[in-house]
């Protein structure tokens, strides 16, 4: 009773809002989610543009790239570096964790907002500043940082080596700010999910998407610390001339690699888990079945999270680490494929015997499982320290992690956006154009990276911008593969405007969506589309788990979590 009272007061507070206050200074979790989503999409376009430029250079070397001009070696390095950094830190993180976390957590657990709305706003603003700082690094003297997204010293530490006196520092500051933004956001997510669940929602009634985002946030908070410390040290090396990572002065560059990958590997799971959560929501809804083995998925996820802290040095097998440690890390790395494989099997088991509907989100979710499997399986080659000696820094590695990150950051995002679009904007996207976009994107993606597997297996090193000095790699056979990959990229990029037009057009002109267009059970579908400020007219209570589909003695084949009967 007291709750609904406070709620009324709350809702009244926000009737009169200016444009600035509504769209930029809002503390409403849904608006912040949309800010993150749109910023992430914009930066995704930037990252894609970088990829376009350097793929053109690789396929058609030393010819001016339309829309960019001639690519120099320094340009090429800056482009690949920032392609990686942007796609992971400024696309995958803000979209998968921040945008969907903000949008879904309060709605799915049945409360009116995040626990710290102003902290939430601050988190987005710091994130925005970090993106601006990164953009600024392209404009300073010497150009943007070109030492790869892993920023290994000594290349990243000394201007004598990298020839970009200011770029690396700005890049590092941007990354550090981005971490601060997500630390604030992560604390907010975890606290909200722990404390603010609807009455009656017990641990095993929480939708998988919320669990996954929360576990991902915890992984992020627990792993990023050493890298924040490392970022300070590297910044001092760059700006003050300390020797933390300078072997000539008693420092150790391998320490940076450890600090980086201690975070860097859990980071893979930080972005993977939310995508796996979306897939769980989508395949249950569109196969009208209970999630197979809910508790197993949950425990497996936690196990994955724990294991992900024990695998980081597999990135450093050829960095000269202690061979005894390499053995240990080989074992743990191969072990971590077990929980992930298990999750894929559980999802496939969920599909078994279901009444499957191939709606657009379902297509993306199924594609996620299929494509991620390829990424996972090729990872086993690289996880074995012996094989890694040959594969390290070849295009095989590039193809492997794109087969993991593309399903996560792109397919996962598209599955989430197409599934929750009606809830976010109250309208439907055009299904036909979405299907066209889906098929061309998927075919294009495989067209890019299957040739890269072949190139990598042929020994193609990943950091070469002009092959004319490497006659054994400049053969017509290999060059054909590069051209094929680039043409596939062009096809894939060419179809993206279709999605964007669909996205923005449907926002205003799409078919109106009702509250629960997919007949799903979770709480976000039990409030109006789009949800008003404060989300629920009456805050819900929860009576059952999130995946009670096709219960035998009910007329409906779904059973909302908040329905008393």
């Amino acid at each position: 009773m007291a709750e609904s009272h406070a709620h009324d007061a709350h809702a009244h507070d926000h009737h009169e809002e200016g444009w600035f206050k509504k769209y930029f200074w809002s503390t409403d979790h849904k608006m912040i989610a949309k800010q993150y989503l749109l910023t992430g999409m914009l930066l995704g376009a930037v990252g894609a543009y970088f990829a376009y430029v350097f793929r053109m250079q690789l396929a058609f070397p030393n010819k001016p790239v339309p829309g960019y001009g001639l690519v120099t070696g320094a340009d090429y390095n800056a482009l690949i570096t920032n392609h990686g950094a942007v796609m992971i830190f400024w696309v995958a993180m803000p979209v998968l964790i921040a945008a969907f976390g903000n949008f879904l957590i309060p709605l799915m657990i049945g409360c009116d907002d995040m626990v710290f709305p102003r902290l939430n706003r601050l988190s987005y603003q710091i994130f925005l500043v970090s993106a601006i700082v990164l953009g600024a690094s392209f404009l300073v003297e010497g150009g943007a940082f070109g030492g790869a997204w892993t920023a290994y010293p000594p290349l990243s530490a000394k201007a004598e080596y990298n020839l970009t006196p200011l770029g690396p520092s700005l890049w590092l500051i941007a990354v550090a700010l981005e971490f601060v933004a997500f630390l604030l956001g992560g604390i907010n997510f975890v606290t909200t999910a722990m404390n603010s669940r609807a009455p009656g929602m017990k641990a095993f009634d929480i939708p998988m998407a919320v669990w996954m985002i929360v576990i991902a946030s915890i992984l992020f908070m627990a792993s990023v610390g050493p890298l924040i410390a490392g970022a300070f040290m590297l910044l001092f090396d760059q700006l003050l001339g300390t020797g933390f990572f300078d072997p000539d002065r008693g420092g150790d560059p391998v320490l940076w690699q450890h600090l980086f990958w201690f975070f860097g590997h859990p980071e893979v799971y930080v972005v993977l888990l939310p995508a796996l959560g979306f897939v769980a929501e989508i395949i249950t809804t569109f196969s009208r079945k209970k999630l197979f083995a809910y508790k197993t998925v949950l425990y497996t996820t936690i196990g994955t999270g724990v294991l992900s802290f024990f695998v980081w040095a597999h990135h450093q097998f050829i960095a000269g680490i202690d061979p005894r440690m390499a053995n240990v890390f080989t074992v743990t790395t191969v072990l971590i494929s077990i929980p992930i494989a298990e999750m894929c099997f559980v999802y496939i088991a969920t599909l078994y015997g279901g009444s499957i509907r191939f709606a657009v989100p379902m297509l993306w979710a199924l594609a996620f499982i299929a494509e991620f499997l390829v990424g996972g399986v090729t990872g086993i080659y690289l996880g074995a320290s012996g094989a890694d000696i040959y594969f390290h820094d070849t295009y095989f590695v590039v193809a492997h992690f794109h087969y993991t990150f593309f399903p996560i950051a792109i397919i996962g995002t598209f599955s989430g956006v197409t599934y929750w679009y009606p809830k976010m904007f109250g309208r439907h996207m055009n299904e036909l154009w979405n299907k066209v976009h889906f098929w061309i994107t998927i075919v294009g993606f495989n067209g890019i990276f299957i040739p890269l597997f072949m190139l990598g297996a042929s020994g193609d090193h990943r950091r070469i911008f002009d092959y004319s000095n490497f006659p054994e790699l400049a053969t017509p056979e290999l060059q054909q593969l590069r051209v094929f990959a680039t043409v596939s990229l062009l096809v894939m990029l060419a179809i993206q405007p279709v999605f964007l037009i669909n996205f923005f057009y449907s926002m205003f002109k799409g078919k109106k969506a009702e509250a629960n267009p997919w007949n799903a059970n979770t709480l976000e579908w039990q409030c109006p589309s789009p949800p008003p400020h404060g989300n629920f007219a009456v805050l819900p209570e929860v009576y059952r788990g999130p995946y009670e589909f096709s219960a035998p003695d009910r007329a409906d084949d779904f059973w909302p979590q908040n329905s008393p009967t």
């Binding site: 709305p117 404390n195 627990a222 610390g225 001339g241 020797g243 933390f244």
Partner: protein
């Protein structure tokens, strides 16, 4: 601003603000842990650093430890006062804690000035790089904590948001804890 209902719920039994502070501290543990771990790795790999460390001023470090321990005491007494609903006393005790923070920073200032004049700058060698980096990061936490504490004290004086006295206190004890480990690492072990 009106707090959302979400903020007022407490499914875990730990109030939301305190839960968040614990998460802050959990993530701070790994930040300081990473830095001090890196320092310790180097320190054990470089026996010669012991000679560099012998130039730190143990007495200044010990005095600052005393200052921080005492400011922790006033922070916990402020919490006790807030628990009893005595906002004015809590505010005064928080101000005492802030004076402790200021004393700490002033001592640090003199100490660093002296060391830099002696030629022990951040670039002198690995030990001094870590010394300034670790103590500096800790000092930033002291400054941030003191600033937040002033805001909390202002609210507490009006008997508002008294639960925040405990929250800033927990954070302050953590800052104290970090120093408890920094003191032997940077000053005593020689």
């Amino acid at each position: 601003m009106v707090k959302p209902i979400a903020t007022l719920r407490s499914a875990t039994g730990v109030p939301t603000g305190r839960l968040a502070v614990w998460w802050v501290i959990a993530s701070e543990i790994v930040i300081f842990g990473g830095l001090l771990g890196a320092y310790l790795l180097h320190r054990l790999g470089h026996p010669e650093w012991a000679t560099y460390a012998s130039h730190t001023n143990t007495w200044a470090g010990a005095f600052n430890t005393l200052v921080l321990l005492s400011s922790s005491l006033s922070a916990v007494l402020a919490h006790n006062a807030a628990e009893k609903g005595n906002g004015a006393r809590a505010a005064n005790l928080l101000l005492v804690t802030c004076v402790g923070a200021l004393t700490f920073l002033v001592v640090k200032g003199f100490e660093w000035t002296h060391e830099i004049q002696e030629g022990f700058t951040i670039t002198a060698n690995g030990f001094w790089s870590f010394y300034y980096c670790a103590a500096g990061l800790h000092g930033l936490h002291v400054i941030a904590g003191a600033i937040i504490m002033l805001f909390v004290a202002a609210d507490a004086r009006k008997n508002q948001e008294l639960q925040r006295v405990e929250l800033i206190g927990i954070y302050w004890h953590f800052v104290d804890l970090v120093w408890i480990f920094l003191f032997p690492l940077l000053y005593i072990a020689k």
